[in-house]
């Protein structure tokens, strides 16, 4: 279960605050996954006291609203990543984001953007699909580009497979939908190092030239996850 309480002293109108919190949740907590198990209790409560002395933010379109939205996104993303980082039994955190230069990164902090898709929602959906696939291969330190491509492919977001490009860190594994020869030992060492330091796995994926940006975080699946949950009995 995910619980959160967020507070601010900014002065903001109720309806604006609610929209902001929904946007921030969709860019943070709703983009994390550990085990694909959606709890009955997940809740985020966000309170605004309004006593900072700031001027009232009464429109989502104002510059001040964008400033506050950015702050809210940052706090919620910071907390969301720490939850995925702390996934039961996890040895490393995975984050997925695409960016403007059409590259998807899958790493402790990686960025997923759907190239050629309509926008943020599509990018976020692919990102979370890749992050939430069991990716047990990551725990096995296996640079399995095929499974990453598969997870991107079943996200129900259309893209042309011949535009698919995947790299692990800066090791290019696939380009233009074609698997490439790569240094397998170096790629495995990259994953192993991340596991040993509970650190970062970075994978870049491109699927076209779209405008949207999305990111997601997950963690690798280890034996410990089963052990922890087998003992957490009702």
């Amino acid at each position: 279960t995910l619980l959160g309480v967020v507070t601010t002293d900014a002065l903001v109108a109720t309806d604006v605050w609610r929209k902001m919190v929904q946007v921030a949740v969709n860019r943070s907590f709703n983009q994390i996954t550990v085990d694909g198990d959606t709890s009955t209790n997940d809740t985020v409560i966000a309170l605004a006291s309004g006593i900072s002395g700031s001027t009232m933010i009464s429109s989502c379109d104002s510059y001040e609203a964008k400033q506050l939205q950015a702050c809210l996104d940052a706090v919620m993303q910071g907390l969301a990543k720490s939850i995925a980082w702390d996934g039961e039994g996890a040895t490393c955190l995975i984050e997925v984001l695409y960016n403007d230069d059409s590259i998807l990164k899958l790493y402790f902090q990686f960025i997923v953007k759907v190239i050629g898709a309509d926008g943020e929602a599509e990018a976020a959906k692919i990102a979370r699909s890749v992050a939430s696939s069991s990716l047990a291969a990551i725990y096995g330190r296996d640079p399995n580009w095929g499974r990453i491509a598969c997870a991107a492919g079943y996200a129900a977001i259309p893209f042309h497979p011949n535009e698919l490009c995947i790299s692990l860190g800066d090791i290019l594994l696939m380009d233009g939908g074609q698997p490439l020869p790569f240094d397998r030992a170096a790629a495995s060492a990259y994953l192993r190092k991340a596991g040993e330091t509970h650190g970062t796995v970075e994978i870049h994926i491109s699927v076209g030239k779209g405008p949207g940006i999305g990111q997601a975080w997950g963690c690798d699946l280890s034996y410990d996850y089963v052990k922890i949950n087998a003992e957490y009995t009702t």
Partner: protein
């Protein structure tokens, strides 16, 4: 009070928080960094094992506007078969503008309760969080437990019970240990503070299988004024949220 908070911080370390870059600076204080908020976390005997704090409280000195995002489902037929007592309230809830729906049609009693109170009040002043039992799939009895706890806390804080929001986490299928919770409330309220320790102890008290506590705050300038945004979260297993 201060000694018990120090003990709290000894239980689990704080998570490394990876903040995106931006025009803000990270400050300490979590949920108490923003003006007007206090927090506390204490052990109330709610956990199945160990004496890590398991009851947290966040309060606001003024009426804070609230935005709550949690599970909602629209199958009122399903509701009426399980929770006849809340059905009428939920219909009123339909007007709740910030809601969206998730594929999970089972919502825990504290979630249903929060929907109810935020359907009738746009502001909240307290969030009570227990760790140990999720109070999910606990039927009418679980819902009544939530109402009793909210009422008891509201009396102690001298506010309306609609201004109290509740979160629960822990073993699904189990009701909260209500007596232990009610007995702990006076001490919890007494330990409220706007200090960093208050925020840290609350962040630890809401954890279950977490290995680290998650708490962060930033300060930035909005419209020329310094504002603060802070928060705490918990979660380690059963993590695939679809909140709206």
């Amino acid at each position: 009070v201060s000694s018990s908070m120090n003990e709290t911080s000894n239980y689990i370390p704080a998570a490394p928080i990876l903040l995106p870059e931006g025009p803000w600076k990270q400050i300490s204080g979590g949920v108490t960094a923003a003006k007007g908020f206090k927090a506390a976390g204490t052990y109330g005997g709610l956990r199945a094992k160990g004496e890590k704090p398991d009851l947290a409280l966040v309060t606001c000195d003024v009426d804070a506007i609230a935005a709550v995002l949690h599970f909602c489902f629209d199958s009122s037929i399903l509701i009426s078969s399980w929770f006849p007592a809340v059905r009428a309230d939920l219909c009123a809830f339909e007007n709740f503008p910030a809601c969206a729906f998730t594929t999970n049609v089972v919502a825990a009693a504290p979630v249903l309760y929060c929907k109810h109170v935020l359907g009738i009040s746009e502001t909240a002043r307290a969030v009570l969080i227990n760790a140990g039992q999720a109070n999910a799939a606990t039927g009418d009895a679980g819902y009544q437990d939530v109402i009793e706890c909210a009422k008891a806390l509201a009396q102690l804080l001298q506010m309306r019970s609609e201004e109290v929001l509740i979160e629960s986490t822990g073993v699904i299928g189990q009701r909260i240990k209500k007596e232990a919770l009610l007995n702990t409330l006076p001490r919890l309220v007494g330990s409220l503070s706007s200090t960093i320790e208050g925020a840290d102890s609350a962040a630890i008290a809401i954890t279950t299988t977490d290995l680290v506590s998650k708490s962060v705050a930033i300060e930035s300038e909005v419209g020329g004024t310094h504002i603060r945004v802070g928060g705490m979260a918990k979660g380690s297993g059963m993590i695939h949220p679809n909140m709206a």
